[in-house]
């Protein structure tokens, strides 16, 4: 629990027999009390919005605000029931909560009481009342995101998507421009909504893990581990350190290949074919390394509830990792000594530290904007309890600073893998059955290559009654339009997108 002024006021209240794992729980009787608590946490503890989600509990929509206290190293789940159709707007206190408020309106029909227009997130336009949702449908639709973008004078909207460049995810980008400069930009991501959170309700945990890995395949381990930790927390399963280290190796390998892929995408976006090809050689090496070490190029199926399904080929890891990491380092150095590359990156796609703070972004996007946060260090778990992660930050918030963060992180990942191997690994696959308790709640987290990933679960009658997935993409797409608007031209947008290296699949899920 946090210490400092106001400590007495945030003592955990009791009165509900449902135990909560992974976060301190603060229950409030209504929205007013909750808003007061949010102010208190924001002012006294510098709490960061990690997630805001809703669940149906006893026929009532209940909101959960997950706040991260990074300095103290803990999460707080602030929960209160919503009576009626409105609740006090959390985004007026902590603006980062806006995207979740829009999601909650679509899925549960309750909205913040500030009469602000809400954006469309996952439900397509003209969806009917019987459209599958998590709760009751809202009385009216969220606004079309086009509505507020008043286009006058010489500016016009350039529609781009949802079918975009070859082998890119479906995403609609509305570019408002006067010809070259990006005046405004908005995104529509509902084309890829698969209703995963709804699908997971009532599924056996093993089957649910299968879907969580496939929510955002490029962060299968990051998101999957958060889910495993939530389940293991409420089932009281302890995972032995040698197995946690195997998971740590999988997570760092995932980070490495994602960073290599981001560098390749940056080279492609800046039109450097040779640089792109070199980075793709490294990427393919890393994927083949994953395949040799863990049996899957994208590390699906490595995690198991209570353990791991696969034991790593430690010999192959030692043999192949060094050259791949060296290759990535050399490639980034070569790019950094290419003027035509660096010119495109500097002062491009700026996310200022203030914006990063206000929108509570995570991962390399946050660290490139001077936000010194990393769940592996601030909220250590598994092998990171024994091995402190050195977090790299840059202050300028442009594409170049994100590339520098990525470069430093790749080296750190390689070091961590070495340390985990030295500390000893479990040589066989090993998992333990996870029996869900009758009633429990839990929060699980990890740091995927895109940033902090959270999974919250509620268990009722020994079943998963609500699974909330909050991959890093949900947080970080929020900052994308700010980055794109910061005096950029058309051709900067793919560069900014590559430097964010997010997935639409994770946002729309």
């Amino acid at each position: 629990m946090p210490s400092g002024p106001g400590r007495e006021a945030v003592a955990v209240s009791s009165g509900d027999d449902r135990p909560f794992y992974g976060a301190a729980v603060v229950r409030c009787p209504d929205g007013q009390a909750a808003a007061a608590r949010v102010r208190q946490f924001g002012e006294h503890f510098g709490a960061r919005v990690a997630d805001l989600y809703a669940a149906m509990e006893e026929e009532l929509v209940t909101l959960h605000l997950v706040m991260a206290l990074d300095a103290e190293g803990g999460y707080v789940d602030l929960t209160w029931p919503v009576s009626g159709e409105q609740y006090p707007a959390i985004s007026e206190i902590l603006p980062a909560a806006f995207v979740e408020e829009c999601e909650i309106f679509e899925q549960f029909g309750v909205r913040p009481a500030d009469n602000k227009p809400l954006n469309r997130v996952a439900i397509p336009p003209r969806a009917e009342a019987h459209f599958p949702r998590l709760g009751p449908a809202p009385g009216h639709e969220g606004r079309h995101p086009r509505a507020p973008h008043y286009v006058a004078g010489e500016a016009f909207e350039f529609p781009f998507g949802p079918v975009r460049a070859v082998a890119q995810e479906s995403l609609y980008i509305g570019l408002v421009t006067s010809g070259e400069e990006v005046i405004d930009l908005y995104l529509m991501q509902w084309h890829k909504h698969r209703g995963l959170e709804r699908r997971l309700q009532g599924l056996p945990p093993e089957r649910a893990l299968f879907f969580v890995e496939r929510m955002e395949g490029l962060s299968a381990v990051g998101n999957g581990w958060a889910f495993c930790r939530a389940l293991e927390g409420c089932a009281g399963v302890q995972v032995p350190p040698p197995i946690e280290r195997v998971r740590g190796i999988a997570l760092e390998l995932e980070r490495l290949y994602n960073h290599a892929a981001a560098v390749a995408a940056l080279a492609q976006a800046t039109g450097l074919s040779v640089g792109q090809a070199q980075a793709e050689i490294v990427l393919e090496q890393l994927l083949r390394l994953n395949s040799v070490v863990f049996g899957h190029r994208y590390l699906f199926g490595v995690l198991a509830l209570g353990g791991v399904h696969r034991a790593p080929e430690a010999g192959a890891l030692r043999e192949l990792l060094g050259s791949a990491v060296d290759g990535l380092r050399r490639e980034i150095e070569a790019l950094q000594s290419t003027n035509s590359f660096m010119d495109r990156l500097e002062a491009c796609g700026i996310v200022s530290p203030e914006v990063a703070q206000r929108l509570a972004v995570v991962g390399p996007v946050a660290r490139g904007s001077g936000q010194n946060r990393d769940a592996r260090r601030d909220h250590p778990f598994g092998p990171y309890l024994d091995e402190r992660v050195e977090v790299a930050t840059r202050a300028s918030g442009d594409v170049l600073s994100r590339l520098e963060v990525v470069a430093t992180e790749a080296a750190e990942s390689a070091r961590l893998i070495g340390e985990f191997c030295r500390a000893g690994l479990r040589a066989q696959a090993s998992s333990r059955p996870v029996h869900l308790p009758r009633s429990a709640s839990a929060l699980g987290w990890s740091e995927s290559s895109r940033g902090e990933s959270l999974v919250s679960i509620l268990v009722d009658d020994n079943e998963l009654s609500r699974v909330r997935l909050r991959p890093a993409s949900v947080r970080n797409w929020r900052a994308f339009d700010d980055a794109a608007r910061s005096r950029n031209v058309f051709t900067d947008v793919p560069i900014i997108e590559a430097s964010f290296w997010l997935t639409v699949a994770g946002f729309a899920r």
Partner: protein, 169 residues
């Protein structure tokens, strides 16, 4: 499979594919992709087809952003209903003869069940000619799939009629 075995198989598949494409399309077969709700991993593997290890260009295959230039449509994802319009517009814009390849387990119905959000199988929306299973199919499997698809496309070309017969008196 060993790495050496992989490489040999890859070379053999590549040779076959190259000769088929050369013969039928004058080294110029154009491919368009559409994502209907994938997890982004199939896209990653598709992008790698152009990377130096696989390098589709040397075989005379090209990715094209314009459906009007495309001979082949690669579809990933479980056919989310919200993508129906975009997917059908892409398909209709492609000239005949055209071929549809379902990439990965999702469009085969291997991951998501049908409901109001998702068709669950691509063949509910488009006629599927070739399927490439796998989650994700690796680039070598994709190469094999393209080889099969080129064969199918060849049959289509053979069936094309270039003269419109006047109806009899």
């Amino acid at each position: 499979m060993t790495v050496a075995g992989d490489a040999l198989q890859e070379q053999a598949a590549a040779r076959q594919l190259a000769s088929a494409v050369r013969k039928l399309f004058g080294r110029s077969l154009h491919v368009r992709t559409v994502d209907t709700g994938s997890c982004a991993v199939c896209e990653s593997e598709l992008r790698l087809l152009l990377a130096p290890h696989y390098d589709l260009h040397r075989l005379g295959l090209f990715f094209t952003p314009a459906p009007r230039h495309a001979d082949m449509l690669l579809v990933t994802g479980p056919a989310v209903r919200a993508m129906d319009t975009a997917l059908l517009k892409t398909y209709v814009a492609m000239p005949d003869p055209k071929i549809v390849v379902a990439i990965g387990a999702c469009p085969l119905g291997g991951v998501y069940a049908e409901d109001d959000l998702i068709h669950g199988r691509l063949d509910q929306v488009l006629p599927v000619d070739v399927v490439v299973p796998g989650c994700p199919p690796n680039p070598l499997a994709l190469l094999h799939g393209l080889l099969v698809a080129v064969g199918r496309l060849a049959e289509r070309v053979g069936d094309l009629r270039f003269v419109i017969e006047e109806p009899g008196p």
